[in-house]
Symmetry: C2
Subunit: 233 residues, 2 copies
């Protein structure tokens, strides 16, 4: 997407006089703000992936000079932190919705989490490496509270939360990167298929081949929760 930038003709920098569109007027754009920067960063990441986010490109999308961002934001790193937490937007569900079996509650929360990350495929691989923003902490708190209410002792909570976290992160990061480019997927499958004689069990399991990602995610999660339920208290 994102119309190919017209080979920037910076030949004559005499914009002062007849510059056809100043930053402000170009869509009746608001002035720069942290909010606008973060929202645009998320869009850019959605459209172009992690490598596509560039301070210059981001500023361009905002109709701002290349260096203007640095007044609002410390770093490119900081932009990643903020975009990540924004992508994981989370509002706690109404109390009423929590009346079900706790297992079902946990599954719902984690499926929501996963869907959210899959909508922003760059987010999964960023999450474990970056600061934990309020949205992420909010999700963790809700998960913890659900487990605690279900009877998991405080001493076991740490393990339980991390196990579920690990599972969701691993599943989502893998999934997000496997179906991103069909080229890669085709190549990976071909490679797997090509080497099958050396990996007979992998072949029998049809690993990577018919991928009911959603069902697999759910089933594995059930196993994990089952383990937590029988031993976890």
């Amino acid at each position: 997407m994102a119309a190919k930038r017209s080979s920037t003709e910076t030949r004559k920098p005499r914009r002062t006089v007849s510059s056809p569109q100043s930053a402000q007027q170009r869509n009746g754009e608001q002035p720069l703000s942290l909010q606008r920067i973060v929202a645009t960063a998320v869009d850019l990441l959605d459209a172009e992936g992690v490598d596509g986010l560039t301070m210059r490109r981001l500023a361009d999308r905002l109709g701002a000079g290349a260096m203007s961002l640095y007044w609002h934001v410390e770093n490119k790193e900081k932009v990643f932190d903020l975009a990540l937490d924004a992508a994981l937007q989370h509002r706690a569900p109404p109390q009423a919705a929590l009346a079900l079996d706790w297992r079902e509650d946990v599954v719902r929360q984690l499926e929501d989490w996963r869907v959210c990350m899959l909508r922003h495929p760059w987010s999964a691989s960023l999450l474990p490496r970056r600061a934990l923003g309020p949205n992420i902490l909010g999700r963790l708190e809700l998960l913890s509270a659900t487990l605690s209410r279900a009877g998991v002792a405080d001493a076991d909570l740490n393990v339980a939360i991390w196990s579920l976290w690990n599972y969701v992160i691993g599943a989502t990061v893998t999934r997000a990167n496997f179906d991103r480019s069909d080229d890669d997927q085709a190549a990976a499958q071909k490679r797997v298929t090509g080497l099958n004689e050396r990996y007979p069990t992998i072949e029998r399991s049809r690993l990577l081949l018919d991928s009911d990602w959603d069902g697999t995610f759910r089933k594995g999660l059930d196993f994990l929760i089952g383990g937590l339920a029988t031993e976890g208290k």
Copy 2:
């Protein structure tokens, strides 16, 4: 580490005559080879992290001209693929070692996998995004075979493998990135502590605070395997 590069004096490119050390002689170095490139890339990644790997820097370490690598390797991407699989070096254990309880076998394999990745902290976050090389496939095959031998039906193998994979990846990628820089860790903990009143359950679980990573990994893994064992056949 890595002695600061002496501000490259490329002023006078008349190396032809008295260049004091040609590429070949500079440690009695062998000529370039894919093997040497990959090994050096792993070293560089270990020392400087993902962002520290640069084609130019890599060539420098090899005592080669900046562009020489491109004869042996297609891409920087390819270097990552090769370095990753090299870091996950795997030789199947002797059959005799597999006589134990299958649960114990699985735990051992996954702990070895994890330790291996923790030795090269950049590898965990790379693994889910890159091609599956022979070492990775070898590990997956061994895991599959162990599960299969334990009685997991072919139809359930896919879920079982992915669940374990997800858990190991998630756990390792998180761990590798949390204790990498003490600054970040301190900051993360401070942030968590600072926001505690809003996240009471997280506080009670002491999430992130006293981190017995190894024990937590093991316990969560036991839960997952327990779940697989009771429902997985």
